[in-house]
C-alpha cells in the first residue's frame, strides 16, 4: 500500500544565490524505490503477457490442426456441402482458401477424388469456420467477405488466403483492438495496396455502378 505521507516531499530546500532563488524538491527514497519496483513489475507483466499471447497463438494453431484432422475423416463432398449450405460460402472462396482453381472444387463436387493435401485443405477451411462460430461470429462466411475498413478492398478472406490464420483468430477473438491494427500486422503497405478509389452505388436501372470517391 502506498503511504500518502511517505510519498510527500519532506522539506523544501531554498538556496539563494545573488538575485535568483532556486527551489530544490528532494525526491524521497521511498518514492524512487516504489517507481523502480512498479517499473520492474510492469516489465515482468509485459514479458509474461507476450509469452501468454504467443502460447495462445500456438494453442489456437494446434486446435485448428486437431479439428482439421477430425474433419478430414469426413467425405470431401460432405464438407463442401456444409461449407456451401450451412455457411453459405461461394465455390470461388473455398477454392481461394484451399489454394486451388474453382474448376478443381467443381470436380470434387462432382465426385472426383481430391488429393490428400487438398482434402486436408478443405477440412482446414471447415475447421476454421467452426472455430469462428465457436467465437460467437454468427455468420462466419459473411464476416470473412466484408471489407475490414471502409474505402479499402481487403477482407478477412485475404488474410486467410495469405496463410495468416493465427492473426485472423486473434482478431476474431477480439485480441486486436482495431481493424487498422490488424491490417498493420498483416501487411504494412495495406493502405497503398488495397485502397479503393471508386465506390459502388445503385444506379437508376437498379444495378450497381461505380463513381469516384
Amino acid at each position: 500500500m502506498i503511504s500518502r505521507t511517505s510519498a510527500e516531499p519532506e522539506a523544501v530546500d531554498t538556496t539563494s544565490t545573488s538575485s535568483v532563488t532556486e527551489v530544490v524538491v528532494p525526491i524521497p527514497q521511498t518514492m524512487t524505490s516504489l517507481v523502480s519496483q512498479v517499473k520492474g513489475l510492469r516489465d515482468r507483466v509485459q514479458a509474461t503477457n507476450q509469452d501468454v499471447a504467443e502460447l495462445h497463438r500456438r494453442v489456437n494453431a494446434h486446435d485448428l490442426e486437431r479439428r482439421t484432422h477430425f474433419k478430414v475423416r469426413e467425405d470431401t463432398r460432405q464438407l463442401l456441402d456444409r461449407l456451401a449450405i450451412h455457411y453459405g460460402m461461394s465455390w470461388n472462396q473455398i477454392a481461394q482458401l484451399v489454394g486451388v482453381s474453382p474448376q478443381a472444387v467443381r470436380k470434387w463436387r462432382k465426385g472426383e477424388v481430391a488429393t490428400g493435401e487438398n482434402r486436408l485443405g478443405v477440412a482446414r477451411v471447415a475447421a476454421l469456420l467452426d472455430i469462428l462460430s465457436d467465437l460467437r461470429i454468427a455468420n462466419p462466411a459473411q464476416w470473412l467477405e466484408v471489407p475490414l475498413v471502409p474505402g479499402y478492398t481487403v477482407t478477412s478472406l485475404d488474410i486467410v488466403a495469405a496463410r495468416k490464420v493465427d492473426l485472423l483468430l486473434e482478431w476474431a477473438d477480439l485480441r486486436i483492438e482495431t481493424p487498422e491494427r490488424l491490417l498493420d500486422l498483416f501487411d504494412r503497405n495495406w493502405r497503398e495496396k488495397y485502397e479503393s478509389k471508386y465506390e459502388t452505388f445503385v444506379a437508376g436501372d437498379g444495378n450497381l455502378s461505380l463513381r469516384r470517391r
Partner: protein, 233 residues
Amino acid sequence: MENLESPSNVASLYLARGEEVDRLRPIMQGDVFEQVTIPGIEQGLGLAAVMTHPCTMRGAGGLLRPKLLMARLVSYAAVPLHRWPFGHYRVFPLPDLRSPDQKESVAIDFEEVGTVRSANLVLDRRVAYLTDYGVTVLQQRLLHHLSRVVVPRADIYAQAAPNFEEADLLHEWLEELVRDPSADEEVLRQTREFDAYLNAGGGELRSHLQDDGKRSTVRKRVRIEIRARAAQL
C-alpha cells in the same frame, strides 16, 4: 500509381476451356464461341467473344437480350504476362485458349466488334469461359481502350460481383434441376424459374446480392431451395 493488371498465370484467367466447358454455364462476358459471324466484319465465320457487360446482357425472365455485343478473336503473337500492363492496349490476349497443351495464340480485338443475335450463339460451340478474375481483367483493358482510364481491378470486381454471384448460383440451379442438359427448352424454363425465385417478394434476394454483407445468406437460401426442388423431381 495504378497499372493495368498483369495476371500471375494463364490458368487464373479461365474457368473452363476445351473439354471442361459445361453447356449449362450461363453465358457471361468474355465467353468465346467458334463459328460466329459478326455483321460488318469481313471475316466470315470465326472465333468471337461476348463483350456486353453482365449487367445489361439479360432481360425479362433472366434470358439473354436479343442482341449481344461481340468482338472478333484474331491471331496475335503471345504477349508475356508481365508485359500486359505496358502495351497491346487494343487487345485482350487469350493464351492457350482451348488447352494448356495446345499453344494457340489469339486475342480479342476491341476494334473488331459488332452485334450478334443471341439466338445465333450455339452453346455447343462455346470453347472457353473466364473466371471472375479473368472477366474483370478483360473489363479493365476494355475500359482503358475506350477511355484511357485505368480503373483498379478490385473496384471493377466490387461492381460486377452481384452478376458473378448470380451466374454461379444459376449454374448450380441448372446443374441440379435440369435433367437433360442438351434440352434447350428445359434450360430456358429453369432459367426463368431461377429468375422468378430471386425476384419473389419484391426482389429481396436479388437486392441482397448487391450487398457483400448479405451474399452468403442468398447463397444459403438458393441452395436450400435447389435441394427442395431436386427432392421433388
